[in-house]
């Protein structure tokens, strides 16, 4: 996706804050340390009894002190996915040092999710079915709907600019970041709090994704279950959490002396227009997204040093994504270091794009590329450098993060060092 003749130069967009929460930790630094060490958050489920399910493990955040973090009354009015969004957004805004109250109309919030207030809706529906329609809570609808995450974050930080949710399955969080970037490039906002949040670890979601064959069934060894690009991969594990960043116009950030963490230099989004769950052959849609992002960034494919893949560890995804990377990167493909961190964080669904953008930025900043753990036997169909097992110390100039969602939605975003 590229821009044609529009009459204004696009503003440069940087990242000035990041916040995250997932099974590996409740902050960006704790999550990053765990990933660099190759730890995994995928474990047998403890938040409910998974007996009777085909897959009995996931990457759970566990108990969060939400009453302390959010206030008891406020926390009770938020589904868990909104709680994650608010916590991560606060971290990001705090790190950025942005004073939203100076010009609140110029700050927006875009948060994506796929299943959104899933637990709230399940509980409310069960109430309706067992106790009758008149016993449904007045908070059921507001807590369920996807826009409650951006709406609540907007209230929490006082942002009065553009605000809505993105929904594109597992590309939701990535779309929020890409479209938030566009808003700033086109002068519609000075800052956007953007990312994704998801809290899907419930029986119904576990059953539903299991029924689709998306989840690994390696129940006896959960930590070794998610094996992206490995010959014995058999699917992913659900994860939960949030990844939220503060996107800001570069001039605006420099003007207030903010520390710049990275610059968003390329973004492209496409649709497969092929099938509601299967990928287009050869990964056509994500290949076009990667090529488009590279073009948008105005660099050569060889300018990208690390790619955080979508890498869900299903047989089909990883093979098609490999083919797509070869198409987009051509001769530069063998030199590209790639990993899927879903083996460590689990698949955060609509929040994956948000968390993985943050991981990609950390890789850029620290010069450490996170590994694909559990990659023990190479699959001939996945014959690129996937950083097996151990993190790699390597400085790179630019990183790319990919996300693909059911329905054929593809997003590719490029970050480079900010100055």
């Amino acid at each position: 996706m590229s821009q044609e003749g529009t009459g204004h130069p696009r503003k440069r967009v940087v990242v000035t804050g990041m916040g995250a929460i997932c099974a590996l930790g409740h902050s960006v630094s704790s999550i990053w340390s765990a990933m660099v060490a190759g730890e995994t958050g995928v474990e047998t489920i403890i938040s409910f009894d998974p007996a009777g399910f085909g897959t009995r493990f996931a990457a759970e955040v566990g108990d969060l002190p939400v009453n302390d973090l959010l206030g008891r009354k406020q926390a009770r009015r938020m589904d868990r996915f909104t709680q994650f969004a608010v916590i991560a957004a606060r971290q990001a805004v705090t790190q950025s040092g942005l004073d939203v109250s100076r010009e609140p109309e110029r700050v927006g919030v875009i948060i994506g999710s796929a299943l959104s207030g899933f637990e709230t809706f399940v509980t409310a529906t069960e109430t309706m079915l067992t106790a009758g329609p008149r016993r449904v809570s007045p908070f059921a609808v507001p807590m369920t709907i996807p826009n409650m995450a951006p709406g609540t974050v907007a209230i929490d930080v006082g942002a009065k600019g553009p605000a809505f949710a993105h929904s594109s399955a597992f590309a939701s969080g990535a779309h929020a970041i890409g479209e938030g970037t566009r808003m700033i490039q086109d002068g519609r906002a000075d800052a956007i709090v953007a990312g994704g949040a998801e809290a899907p670890i419930l029986g119904l979601a576990l059953a539903a994704f299991g029924a689709m064959g998306s989840l690994s069934r390696r129940n006896d060894e959960p930590r070794r279950a998610v094996r992206p690009f490995d010959a014995e991969r058999d699917g992913c594990a659900m994860g939960e959490g949030a990844g939220v960043i503060v996107l800001e116009a570069r001039e605006h950030a420099l003007g207030r002396g903010a520390e710049i963490l990275a610059e968003v230099t390329g973004y492209c989004t496409t649709a497969d227009a092929f099938h509601e769950v299967q990928l287009a052959p050869g990964g056509d849609g994500i290949a076009r997204a990667m090529s488009g992002a590279i073009l948008d960034a105005g660099i050569e494919p060889s300018g990208i040093g690390y790619l955080n893949a979508h890498g869900t560890a299903t047989v089909m995804n990883d093979a098609y994504e490999t083919a797509a990377i070869r198409t987009a990167f051509g001769e530069a493909a063998p030199e590209l270091a790639i990993s899927s961190t879903k083996a460590m964080s689990g698949h955060l669904l609509g929040a994956a794009g948000g968390l993985e953008a943050i991981i990609s930025i950390q890789a850029l900043r620290d010069g450490i590329l996170p590994p694909t753990i559990n990659l023990e036997t190479a699959d001939p169909a996945c014959d690129l450098d996937y950083i097996p097992g151990v993190a790699r110390h390597q400085r790179v100039d630019a990183v790319m993060s990919n996300s693909m969602g059911f329905g054929g939605h593809n997003v590719s975003i490029i970050f480079a060092a900010g100055q």
Binding site: P9, R134, I145, P146, N147, K160, H166, S167, T270, G407
Partner: protein, 427 residues
């Protein structure tokens, strides 16, 4: 990829965005022409609920689509893999793309889809919950996820027409499809796509839809007279009427439309969006956020408030909404607020939630085409807090050169869109 895909930002003039096709399905008709005929005649589509047994529910009526056979509309096999909100969205898109004579295959990577929704596949979701409860995990369908996800309408529409450009769903409750149209307009204006199918689909007339909104006290409970229940601005209004359907616009770069001799129906000349940042369901005090959105849209269009000939209000028929909406209108239009014709077509169609904004945009475009301003029906007792010309009860002939359509969603999301008629779009 073509050279066109690979261009970098240039320094040409900002691109104008026109409407070359519309499609819609709602409680008063299953095509744009049928819908317009009903609107112009002031007919209501609100009736007792038939989609499920509503006997135990506090509200037992809604705006249901009538005579819609999914198998005929979208194909038998395909329809079984789509929640109802997706079925509506696909059907409405087929009408719009047909009306636009749009050849998608010839330019697929520059054609995108943004179809929003407030709630996604509610019936699918409820059924899945029931299945798990009664039959256990192993009986949950593999189609559960791909049917209930909110983005599925947008995704399946892209598959149905073969559009390979940008694609996602905007979700902001009752502003979802208005956001879709606004964001699509920005995307085309700034050169990221050449055509976008933009709008929304919603199928919330389900057990949870009704009980959930009843629990909030948001729905009218006028069970004895459903067709008189949706009465925006009327003193006796007591809540909105839930409704279903879908509506989309084919938005196109004006130069491209002219080059292919497309019929240009209207132009999107202004878009403004803000957030109240006030409360999870109540709008911000004084209608401040909504007023800002309107002002942003007028500024974006480069016009004064006095240039607006007609406003299609959000007008949900709740006490609180119209009170605040009137405040907002006064902030923006001053004394003109009492004389600019403004109506809520939700009085006839009910509230389509995530599809409301796009349906109302379709209605506005028809109104401009025919020079007829739609009425607000059920105006019987004047509310002194709503000193407005609501075009009470009967449609009114009158040229509409410039129209505004407003949508405000739970969670504080405000969207204002400004349209210019075909004559203005032509120059």
């Amino acid at each position: 990829m073509t050279a066109q895909d690979q261009s970098r930002p240039g320094n040409g003039a900002p691109r104008r965005v026109v409407v070359t096709g519309t499609g819609a399905i709602c409680p008063v008709g299953n095509t744009v022409a049928d819908i317009w005929a009903a609107i112009a005649a002031g007919r209501s589509g609100i009736a007792p609920i038939t989609l499920f047994d509503a006997e135990r529910f506090e509200t037992r009526f809604a705006g249901e689509v009538k005579g819609f056979d999914p198998a005929t509309a979208v194909g038998r096999k395909e329809s079984r893999r789509m929640d109802r909100f997706t079925q509506f969205s696909v059907a409405a898109t087929r009408e719009a793309v047909g009306a636009a004579c749009l050849d998608v295959a010839g330019d697929a990577t520059r054609i995108g889809v943004i179809v929003g929704t407030g709630m996604g596949g509610m019936a699918t979701f409820e059924d899945g919950i029931e299945t798990l409860l009664t039959s256990g995990p192993k009986r949950v369908s593999p189609f559960f996820v791909p049917m209930m996800l909110p983005n599925m309408a947008s995704g399946i529409v892209s598959i149905d027409i073969g559009a390979k450009g940008p694609n996602f769903a905007t979700v902001s409750a009752c502003a979802s499809s208005a956001h879709a149209i606004g964001e699509a307009t920005m995307m085309i204006r700034n050169g990221y796509a050449d055509v976008i199918i933009a709008g929304g689909g919603e199928a919330p007339v389900t057990r949870m839809g009704v009980s959930g909104f009843n629990a909030m006290g948001a729905l009218s409970t006028r069970n004895d007279e459903p067709a008189r229940a949706s009465r925006p601005f009327d003193a006796d209004r007591d809540g909105f009427v839930l409704a279903e359907g879908a509506a989309v616009l084919v938005l196109e770069d004006r130069e491209r439309a002219v080059a292919r001799n497309a019929t240009i129906l209207a132009e999107v000349i202004g878009y403004g969006t803000t957030d109240d940042a006030n409360h999870m369901v109540q709008p911000g005090p004084g209608g401040e956020g909504a007023a800002r959105a309107m002002n942003l849209a007028l500024a974006d269009a480069g016009i004064e408030p006095s240039a607006v000939d007609y406003i299609n209000a959000h007008g949900t028929s709740t006490q609180l909404n119209e009170k605040l909406e009137t405040h907002a209108l006064r902030r923006v239009f001053g004394d003109l607020a009492t004389t600019i014709p403004i109506s809520s077509t939700k009085s006839m169609t009910g509230h389509l939630l995530g599809a409301a904004g796009s349906l109302e945009s379709v209605i506005v475009i028809e109104a401009m085409k025919f020079g007829v301003m739609p009425p607000t029906i059920n105006q019987e007792r004047h509310d002194p807090e709503c000193e407005l010309d609501t075009i009470p009860n009967t449609a009114r002939e009158g040229r509409i050169g410039i129209a505004m359509s407003n949508s405000m969603g739970f969670g504080g999301h405000n969207v204002s869109l400004v349209f210019a008629d075909a004559d203005r779009a032509a120059v």
